[in-house]
């Protein structure tokens, strides 16, 4: 046997490994000797593949079944990898791996920062962008499906529903969707909107109100959730973050599970603080334009705030975020910003009395 580096060769025919010696020749070829055979593999050949792990180099050559050489000599590995790098046969992946190995901690921190940044800012942005591209009919279909699945469990007050529909229609809250209002017999101080137009108001919240402005504000707030497609946006956000996390942990099944789960679960989506304030603000603008005093929003929020202090867990108002003094003062600022109304005030008292019923 001549000089060269020790290696192990698998001939691809039998499982008996061979002791081999390997040398890099001047003409850019690998010379391999084992038993009594000798052959050369051109380094630039397409059929030559190599993979390097931390302490071994695997070179294979030819068609299936390929002959394989494993080299463990660090000096040979280093010079081989360098040579391949100069000839341009080192991919982006190996370069990244090399960078990562040279400073694992720093690399990790950089990736972690990128991940957190991507998760907190890029992901919601991209998801909401995607949501806005989806057709509005999707909102309607999602909403219909969700409503029909929960309709059985809701006890609707038909007479008050008709009155609420008239009240809502008078406000003319949406240009794009026709809003369908429901009054449901339930003591919870709560209301929610489904994508596409169903807005459900519980008798519990109606009975707390004593002026039409509050009800107008509630409907305007919920109407904005519908008009601005908040549910769909939140759904896409949630979906995107599940996809993101399950990709990181390499668990694709989670994605399927989430799609299946969320189709039914729109009602329990919680909006972000920003979307809630959006709904307050747009709602007030809408009321202002229709001749309803936006001060009603401030009254509504105060009413809900008091309620929240009395029975904390009952206070949902479509959100897991507690109502804070902040939201009230933001609404107050908005009232003064909007100034006096440009149109004749809308008289909602008769319609409100009808909604209130005999209480």
């Amino acid at each position: 046997m001549s000089d060269g580096t020790e290696a192990v060769l698998y001939d691809g025919v039998r499982s008996q490994p061979h002791a081999a010696r390997i040398t890099v020749r001047e003409q850019n070829a690998l010379q391999v000797e084992y038993d009594k055979e000798r052959f050369t593999w051109p380094l630039e050949h397409e059929g030559l593949q190599w993979e390097r792990s931390r302490d071994s180099l695997r070179i294979s050559f030819g068609e299936f079944p390929r002959r394989v050489i494993i080299v463990r000599d660090p000096i040979f590995i280093q010079s081989f990898v360098l040579r391949m790098r100069y000839s341009g046969r080192q991919g982006l992946y190996d370069r990244l791996l090399a960078i990562a190995r040279s400073g694992p901690v720093l690399f990790f921190l950089a990736v972690a920062a990128l991940m957190v940044g991507g998760y907190l800012w890029l992901l919601p942005w991209a998801a909401e962008g995607l949501a806005m591209v989806l057709p509005r009919t999707l909102d309607r279909e999602l909403g219909e499906a969700a409503y029909s699945s929960m309709a059985m469990t809701l006890e609707e007050d038909t007479a008050r529903t008709i009155a609420l529909q008239q009240f809502g229609d008078a406000l003319d809250l949406s240009d794009e969707d026709s809003l369908i209002f429901h009054v449901v017999k339930d003591d919870q101080v709560n209301a929610f909107a489904l994508p596409g137009g169903h807005i459900v108001v519980f008798t519990g919240i109606l009975d707390k109100m004593d002026q039409p402005g509050e009800l107008a504000a509630l409907l305007a707030h919920e109407g904005t959730h519908v008009a601005e497609r908040h549910s769909t946006r939140m759904l896409m956000r949630q979906l995107a973050s599940y996809v993101f996390i399950s990709m990181l942990i390499g668990d694709a099944s989670a994605i399927v599970a989430v799609v299946a789960e969320n189709a039914d679960n729109i009602r329990n989506l919680s909006y972000t603080r920003g979307l809630e304030e959006d709904a307050d603000r747009h709602g007030m603008e809408r009321l202002h334009a229709r001749g309803v005093d936006p001060q009603g929003m401030v009254e509504l929020l105060k009413l809900l705030n008091e309620e929240a202090m009395e029975i904390p867990q009952a206070m949902q108002f479509l959100s897991s975020h507690p109502l804070t003094q902040d939201r009230i003062s933001t609404a107050e600022t908005e009232v003064s910003k909007l100034g006096p109304m440009a149109v004749a005030p809308l008289d909602l008292v008769p319609l409100f009395t009808a909604v209130r019923g005999n209480k």
């Binding site: 791996l97 990562a100 399927v256």
Partner: protein, 317 residues
Amino acid sequence: MDPINPLQRLAFRGKGVDLFIVLIVNWLLTIVTLGLYYPWAKVRKLKYYYEHTELDGHPFHFHGTGREMFIGFIKAVGLFAVLGGGGFALYYFVHPLLLQVVLAAGVIALFPLVIHGTFRYRMGRSSWRGIHFGYRGELGPLYKQCLTDGLITVITFGFYAPWFTIHLRNYVLGNVRWGSSRFEYKGDGPDYFILNLKCYFFTLFTLGGYWFRWRKELFDYYVNNLSWHLGDDRVIRFKSTATGAGMFRLIIGNLFLILLTLGFGYAWAEVRTMQFVTRNIEFIGDADLGSVVQTEQEHKQALADELGDLMDIGIFL
């Protein structure tokens, strides 16, 4: 280091740091490509496990490529989209209940296909000492077996599930080849049933303490019933040396490793698991591993592998 045990021929030489680096680079590329790198990331991770698992000092090799995984992934997603789309169409236009029916039927119909395809792919793309593994099972018998056992399992409210599992293992592992050699799994439904039943009661009485013992026994049951046939009555049997205490240390240790690092200790936990598995399998019998001839074909269809991911079906049954 453990004393050198000639029967302990498997070893895992991976290191937590190295696997961690592989995983971070995977994460980085996955984020930057908005997820499209996922199939390549999967291959990188698998390759790391294979390369660092050695039998008699020779590493295993995974031949799969990101490209073929990607093609499989796209097909799997397409199949799911068709299934889901069909289900939703029926949901809207015919009857809401049909969605569940279609999805359930889809999962039942796909399960044997996923097992079959995943084994064909994983085995066809694995080799040791240049000789490829292979899977010779056929889809027809597997379907027949799964449907019969599945039906009995449903009728018996799940009591038959241990038999289902064992029949599946016997069939699938019995069709694994390494070149001209073959594997065999001889599990027994009643034994496996009693094993699980025992665990249920003892775990209750020992306030969960028996659970680790049970995990150890499951591992034993897997390993001890497996054998490797190299022709002419030359057989290698496997013997588990796992202990309840060892299983306890592994599981509790990994739990802490992952919890205390908020998940970033995952790589180290994986390495510990691989070390535990390789260290606790002994090879009984000195059949010659050098006389095996290459017989198995390559198989490059990764569809089932990806379907399995989407449906959360592990291949270790």
